[in-house]
């Protein structure tokens, strides 16, 4: 948890929360991978796997990668985001029409 004041400019708080989730997910990625390797196993005894279940549940909730949402980088729009450019459809269209997207052209066939 961030105790100091957050001074960087993010479009809105939801974007900030998404950034925090990404950071935590990066930190705990190895541990989660290893505990999951113990859990999703047919060789190890089941008791061990139950213990591993409890352990992974005890990790911070924001550390799981499933909670990350690919928002638009400029407008923080959660929906309609193209993965390649990380932009929402509206921003993408705006830039493409002003010829500021490299290699993008209006389709006509």
């Amino acid at each position: 948890p961030c105790t100091r004041q957050v001074r960087s400019y993010f479009v809105d708080w939801r974007m900030l929360r998404d950034v925090k989730r990404r950071k935590l997910a990066y930190e705990y990625a190895d541990e989660r991978l290893r505990i999951n390797a113990i859990r999703k196993n047919t060789i190890l005894p089941k008791e061990l796997q139950e213990v591993a279940d409890k352990e992974i549940a005890a990790l911070p909730r924001d550390s799981c990668p499933v909670r990350i949402r690919n928002r638009c980088v400029l407008t923080s729009r959660p929906r309609g985001v193209k993965r390649r450019w990380r932009l929402s459809r509206i921003v993408f269209r705006h830039f493409a029409d002003h010829a500021q997207m490299s290699g993008i052209q209006r389709a006509m066939w």
């Binding site: 190895d30 541990e31 290893r34 390797a37 060789i43 190890l44 005894p45 008791e47 061990l48 213990v51």
Partner: protein, 338 residues
């Protein structure tokens, strides 16, 4: 090399002295053989500086004097020819009598005509003396004297054709590097080379990795004070003018790390110095695990997966296994309950 030659000379001289004392008739040939080799070596190194050559000759004369009894007998018979070069030497500067003796000894040992070799050697000596005197006085070397004694080498038209063809083949080589190995070998053995081949020459180091110390930052003192940091920041603020053109901008970006370095290095930032066997054969890290049971089975699967993983470094793989070891150590009590 000089010291080694001298040592061999001394060894041979002692042996040859022993041989000369024994057999008088055979000694001229026997003694001439071993010093002949030495003398041939010396003559082979004729392009050595003047001082060393002179020292050589002086040392040689000192050794030859021991065996010189036989040689002097020969010298007396050719006293007339001996006088000739001595008189010629008197012209420019009286050469060292020992040197002249050595010259005659050398000439006698060589198979070619003695008089010609003698005169040539004496001419060489005279020239060396002249050059040393001039250098001492600080005079310039007259090229005419040097060139006048050099002879022009004639080239047969066949050899000229070979050279031209080699030049043409060089042009081909630059294009496609498709020279047949026969041509390559013939070119490599060609003694005369008026052009640089692709494999010779000093490297330009354009496409090699720049050494990391070319633009190394200032070496930090043990404890940089705040004032030093501030001073450095001030200097940076003043000197770092905005880039004048696109090239400087790209240079700045490359320094910051925004732009990659060209030609693109696929392994930039990845300094994995481990060999392939360290990546694949990870069983040695499984020493602390129990040899049987489900845990061992599980760990062997883990190792199999790690060995196929090209994205992790060896350290990361070892850390992975260590984490599992710690985990299972913590759970040991729990496992023994079961």
């Amino acid at each position: 090399s000089t010291s080694s030659v001298l040592s061999t000379e001394k060894d041979k001289s002692t042996t040859s002295t022993g041989s000369t004392n024994e057999v008088a008739s055979k000694s001229p040939e026997g003694a001439a053989e071993t010093p002949k080799q030495k003398l041939l070596n010396i003559i082979g190194n004729m392009k050595v500086e003047v001082t060393t050559k002179k020292k050589f000759q002086q040392l040689k004369t000192q050794e030859i004097k021991k065996q010189a009894t036989d040689k002097l007998e020969g010298l007396d018979s050719r006293s007339s020819t001996f006088q000739g070069p001595a008189e010629d030497a008197q012209r420019s500067k009286p050469l060292n009598r020992e040197l002249v003796e050595a010259v005659s000894a050398v000439a006698s040992s060589l198979p070619r005509s003695k008089e010609q070799t003698e005169s040539e050697l004496l001419a060489q000596l005279r020239r060396h003396e002249e050059t040393t005197d001039k250098q001492r006085k600080g005079g310039t070397i007259n090229i005419r004297n040097v060139i006048s004694e050099m002879s022009i080498k004639r080239q047969s038209p066949a050899q000229r054709g070979v050279m031209i063809s080699n030049r043409i083949s060089l042009a081909m080589e630059e294009d496609g590097q498709r020279l047949k190995p026969d041509r390559l070998s013939s070119r490599s053995f060609d003694s005369r080379r008026y052009f640089l081949s692709l494999r010779e020459g000093k490297r330009l180091n354009i496409f090699t990795k720049a050494p990391p110390e070319t633009e190394s930052a200032l070496k930090t003192v043990s404890s940089p004070t705040i004032w030093d940091l501030e001073f450095a920041k001030e200097i940076a603020a003043v000197t770092d003018q905005p880039p004048r053109n696109g090239f400087e901008e790209m240079i700045q970006w490359t320094k910051e790390g925004i732009l990659w370095e060209f030609p693109i290095d696929n392994e930039a930032g990845m300094d994995d110095d481990a060999e392939f066997h360290e990546h694949i054969f990870l069983e040695k890290h499984l020493k602390d695990f129990p040899k049987e049971g489900p845990i061992r089975h599980f760990m062997e699967l883990v190792i199999c997966g790690l060995s196929k993983n090209p994205y992790l470094s060896v350290k990361q793989k070892i850390e992975h296994i260590e984490w599992f070891r710690n985990y299972f150590d913590e759970k040991e009590e729990f496992l023994q309950e079961m």
